[in-house]
């Protein structure tokens, strides 16, 4: 009696469902095992696996793959009922074949079978296989589709499952041939537990019940990641990456804002009231163009602004969002900290200049230790005339671009002024003293931008002292705005 005979007897022998033998017991073509065929199936034996029966659709598939010479090798189980009671399977040395009446028989093996097993076989959300393991069209990977998803594998990425809405989007984009490439994670719950995602070789798909599934990739994904993914103020994506109407850039909208990208500007986020105004103006087709910065905090810690290709949008709690056609960049060089905080003076400056669509950016702040220039001799403070001390002081221009204005906060001037805007050609600068008013900075930079004194205490450029301004914030009239915009110091 051989093991095959024993197995046959155990299954009922000639009266059992295998029926009558149709062959003798033979050595298998691989020379290591034995088999015997019966009317309704076969029994295969191998010293390592023992004797197991195989029949029906599973046997037919195994046969089509090459019997024991296939990658599956010899069966390690009889055909068994799956734990869910719906299907049948045989495990083999090199894989498994699963069958249901609905799905027919399909093999799973290797790393894909490993993941399928790890997820819970047919009881997982994947259900039963709908395909054998198949080479991907690009020839680089392998996959099985299942009732509830797919598992994709490459040597570089390993095996990962995709399913549901994320799989549907990936499929619509072209599977692994899409820009996303192969999955590098299984579908995973997001840290906030509200969503799900798969990362792919070249991007990600994020899904929530309210937003649906959307892909993010490239520089936009890079920025979103840097900001904190879905935990950032942007939240989850509401769109796939989309070409802008002008054909130049790309964007994703998110729950809490947008990220816009062009090759020239890179990727930058816009959100809140600034995004609202930009959208109202026509997005990138407005005169502002594309964002060139993320939303930034003003030096006072309260205001916010984003810079664009052709201007900026500045927001304050009191003034709301204001679009500015030009921006003046100032650099604070601090020899003595002024009584009115620089941030406060800049905030007021932003409000006043903003009324003429001119933005103000405090581009840098540097502390200078120059005790002998802290009470700087400014002579008569006449435009075009500077003293040696002014020239020395204004030579300290770290980070100051040729079209930027350097503001030197000093203890005092000789003679005593609130400030002085006289500066050498090519070094736009002014000084502001410790005891200056909150409007002095805006006033002096106004001089640097070409404005003269006026006899009107409602206006910033009053020659009667900004301490005497009667209707703060003071006015800049249209012609003054035009003069400032015409200056080569506003960009």
């Amino acid at each position: 009696m051989t093991a095959i005979d024993d197995k046959y007897a155990a299954l009922g022998g000639p009266g059992g469902w295998l029926g009558q033998p149709t062959s003798g017991e033979n050595t298998a073509p691989d020379g290591t095992g034995h088999y015997r065929h019966f009317t309704s199936g076969s029994i295969y034996w191998h010293p390592a696996t023992g004797a197991h029966e195989i029949h029906g659709a599973i046997r037919a598939l195994w046969s089509s793959l090459g019997w024991e010479k296939s990658f599956l090798g010899y069966p390690t189980t009889d055909e068994s009922v799956t734990p869910d009671g719906v299907g049948r399977y045989n495990h083999f040395q090199g894989g498994s074949i699963y069958w249901t009446n609905q799905t027919s028989a399909h093999e799973v093996h290797g790393a894909i079978r490993g993941l399928y097993s790890q997820l819970g076989w047919e009881r997982s959300f994947l259900g039963y296989p709908l395909t054998n393991e198949t080479a991907t069209p690009d020839g680089k990977g392998r996959y099985n589709h299942f009732q509830g998803g797919s598992i994709y594998w490459t040597p570089a990425t390993g095996a990962h499952e995709v399913h549901g809405a994320i799989r549907a989007l990936w499929s619509s984009l072209g599977w692994e041939k899409s820009l996303l490439g192969y999955p590098v994670t299984d579908e995973t719950a997001t840290p906030d537990t509200k969503g799900r995602y798969n990362h792919f070789q070249n991007g990600s798909i994020y899904w929530t019940a309210t937003t649906g599934a959307h892909e993010v990739h490239g520089a936009i994904r890079g920025l979103w990641s840097q900001l904190g993914w879905e935990k950032s103020l942007l939240g989850y994506p509401l769109t796939d990456e989309t070409k802008t109407p002008d054909g130049v850039g790309r964007y994703n909208h998110f729950q809490g804002g947008s990220i816009y990208w062009t090759p020239q500007t890179g990727a930058h986020e816009v959100h809140g009231a600034i995004r609202g105004l930009w959208a109202q103006m026509g997005w990138e087709r407005s005169w502002l163009g594309y964002p060139t910065t993320n939303e930034l905090t003003s030096p006072d810690g309260i205001g916010r602004y984003s810079l664009f290709q052709h201007g900026g949008i500045f927001w304050t709690p009191t003034g709301g969002a204001i679009a500015c056609r030009e921006v003046v960049r100032i650099h604070a060089k601090v020899l003595t900290t002024p009584t009115v905080p620089i941030a406060q003076s800049v905030a007021i400056m932003q409000e006043v200049y903003g009324s003429r669509e001119i933005g103000v950016v405090l581009a840098s702040t540097e502390t200078l230790s120059l005790p002998t220039l802290n009470d700087v001799d400014v002579g008569q403070c006449l435009m075009g005339q500077t003293t040696g001390e002014q020239n020395t002081l204004f030579g300290n221009r770290n980070n100051v671009g040729t079209r930027d204005v350097a503001v030197y906060f000093v203890r005092s001037t000789n003679p005593p002024f609130n400030g002085c805007a006289a500066h050498p050609a090519g070094q736009p600068s002014c000084v502001v003293v410790q005891g200056a008013t909150r409007f002095t900075l805006a006033h002096e930079v106004g001089h640097v931008l070409g404005l003269n004194h006026v006899n009107d205490n409602n206006r910033l450029m009053t020659g009667n002292g900004t301490a005497n301004i009667t209707n703060p914030p003071p006015d800049l009239v249209a012609s003054e705005g035009q003069t400032m915009i015409s200056s080569n110091l506003t960009n």
Partner: protein, 152 residues
């Protein structure tokens, strides 16, 4: 008193006072300036000090000398700068300013001595050129001293 405090303040509260214009207020402005020098606004006090010197009338030197004693550095700097405009600037005041613990005050004092050609103060300046703690002040003092002539 023909000049009112409001006029004086109006002249000084501008961002960039025109001291030559403001000086036309004349000696009648000095009592107001004296009050402002001891007021609680250091910048206004400094401006008042400078204007008092610029007016250069009887009483100016007292106001400048008073400013030289101020607790506010910017007022002492203004006093040191203003001293150049005062015909009879007090030697003792200069002596105090030249040893002020603030480098800005000493710098302004040396420059005033230089611009007002106070040859009688050359020894003090030379002393500073030798012993000041700040190298820029030593250099300034040395340069200034070279330009001063001792009085005959």
């Amino acid at each position: 008193m023909a000049v009112k405090m409001s006029q004086v303040k109006a002249a000084l509260e501008v961002e960039e006072p025109r001291y030559d214009e403001a000086a036309k207020l004349g000696a009648d402005a000095l009592p107001h300036l004296k009050k402002l020098v001891t007021g609680d606004d250091p910048l206004l006090a400094a401006k008042a000090t400078f204007l008092a010197g610029f007016i250069d009338a009887e009483g100016s030197s007292d106001i400048v000398a008073q400013a030289a004693q101020s607790d506010q550095v910017v007022v002492r700097v203004a006093a040191a700068s203003s001293a150049a405009n005062v015909t009879e600037a007090d030697t003792a005041m200069y002596e105090g300013l030249l040893v002020d613990n603030d480098v800005g005050v000493r710098k302004a004092a040396v420059k005033s001595i230089g611009s007002s050609a106070r040859g009688d103060l050359k020894p003090l300046v030379q002393e500073l050129a030798q012993g000041d703690t700040a190298e820029p002040i030593r250099e300034l003092a040395a340069s200034t001293a070279r330009g001063l002539k001792k009085p005959k």
